[in-house]
């Protein structure tokens, strides 16, 4: 038994969380490995090939993917960091003095207005537009006029 041992000293009130994480890791690990241990293993080349609806896979899947996902990730990092800055203020705001509440409220208000301007700018420049509208080069996306097949005069009469 560890008792009030070194773990208690180091982790303090986070010790139960550490314990829960250990238990969660053991349970999740057991789930993943048990079927590997228990199940039969009969490997054939067809079975172990990539499943793409029966069509023979072409090339490697880990390749380029649309830049928009990357853009969303970058925006998330920016906006989430801004929210993270708020959390420390949130904890002290309600119990503070009136002077501090008004002062910090105005400061955070300015901060949030900047935040909103950022969000509005992101929306305005179309960083979150996912539908393919003909914005870049409309003439390229229009259907090319197809020449009607010329039929020699008199052939159909």
């Amino acid at each position: 038994m560890l008792g009030r041992g070194i773990f208690q000293a180091v982790f303090g009130e986070f010790l139960p969380i550490l314990l829960l994480m250990l238990v969660a890791a053991v349970v999740a690990g057991a789930m993943v490995t048990l079927s590997w241990v228990l199940g039969p293993k009969k490997d054939t080349p067809y079975k172990s090939s990539t499943y793409e609806c029966g069509v023979t896979p072409v090339g490697n899947a880990i390749e380029r993917f649309p830049i928009k996902f990357y853009l969303v990730a970058i925006l998330f990092v920016l906006f989430d960091i801004e929210v993270v800055f708020l959390w420390s203020w949130i904890t002290v705001f309600k119990g503070a003095t009136i002077q501090y509440q008004v002062f910090s409220g105005v400061a955070v208000g300015i901060y949030l207005v900047l935040w909103i301007i950022g969000d509005a700018y992101v929306i305005k420049v179309g960083a979150l537009e996912w539908d393919e509208e003909p914005q870049v080069a409309p003439e390229k996306l229009l259907p090319t006029p197809v020449e009607a097949p010329t039929i020699a005069a008199g052939s159909h009469s």
């Binding site: 008792g3 969660a24 890791a25 079927s35 993917f65 959390w87």
Partner: protein, 461 residues
Amino acid sequence: MDVGHWLEGLGQSNPVALAAIRVVLLVLPILVLVPGLIWLERRLLSWMQDRIGPNRTGTVTFPSNFPLKFLAGKKVRTFGLLQPIADGVKLFLKEDVTPSAIDKLVYFLAPFLALFPAFALGATLPWASTGFMPFTSIPGPYSLLTPVANVEIGILYVLAISSLGAYGLVLAGYASNNKYSLMGGIRASAQLISYELGMGVSLACVALATGSLKMPDMVMQQEAALWGVAEHIQNWFVFTPWGLVSAIVFLICLVAETNRAPFDLPEAENELIAGYHTEYSSMKFAVFFMGEYAAMFLLSGVFAAVFLGGYNLVPVRWEHLADTYPAMAGFYGAMAKLNYWLGPLWFLGKCAGGVAFFIWLRATLPRLRYDQLMSLGWKTLLPLAVANFIVVALYIVFTSLYGPAGGWGAWGGATLVLVLLYLNIAAATRKGPLASPPRRIALVDGTEAPASLREREQVKT
């Protein structure tokens, strides 16, 4: 209470043992309930779709010469409750088909990362009252059993751990080396991070209003008088105007965070086979679902604790009623004790209600398109949550400046301004129908098409 004293002694002599008890009390119900939730989903969906669903597995007919007389010749039904367990046993014994083109380490790590946060999520979640026992000032035994750790970061821990689940999905998609899996994984990551913003800000509103990040504190503040006025009714945050907005935003984000319909684009089976778990088989495949159900259950618990009064059955302040009306003190006192001692049951009921709501959504709503999903998260929920945050801050400042009337006045004024602002912005940015020139239609011999045909074509575009 003997149990209370024993727990208290244990907490002083051996805190690790007490922590272990708490952990077991959290993890064991989840492990037991996840198959039950799968059964619930299948039965509820069947009922909503006018089917029967799994109702046979586990029906035992005892022979007429069975030694136990009261069972002989009887048929014992379990209403298909054993079906998920049978499925689990089958999945454990199935072959673990491992494609040859995968990234081995990440492929095995991904299901682990999908299930791990679902179990670790509930560490700061109180499933019973952590306050005093009714009509006393002694902390009850529940305060020693829950939450697993009453740390200061409270709700931030939930946010942090629930977003870890995104790693499981995106790594599963990446490691499978399958185009559909990769698309599913990328979609999952984009979706989860988009909706996590709204979720974080909507929880920040509640934390701002309660002044604490601890979830037990949040539940206790909901036991106060409604709006500071109605003495006999509890102030569940879903009843307050700002809390209602937060609750709606949080609920929608919850559905998106758990990848449930109508936000189940990462595993949209009619476009992406099965999304990120296409290449997984046997129990590794089921682990993703276990993680999904456990997260659904625990996040419903978070929703119940933060907005729906946690472990209280109904929003009535029984103790206060008993003090106000001594003639009825016996009944109200009994209700207060019932409310306290069966708290875990009420909490479990709220979690199950949340899961039933998820299933109802799945049966009702069609899947969103990807651009709709993204614009809902970034253009609607996020600005709404931030506006709500500003309104809550104004409410608190004006309450401490001019009292409750000032607070509600500020709330009303700010809401009016924001609604007008929104309507203006919406009117200014509204897009007309897509302006594309009408297609030229020529008949086979080169003559222009008749007007009727052209009109029909224009209506289509």
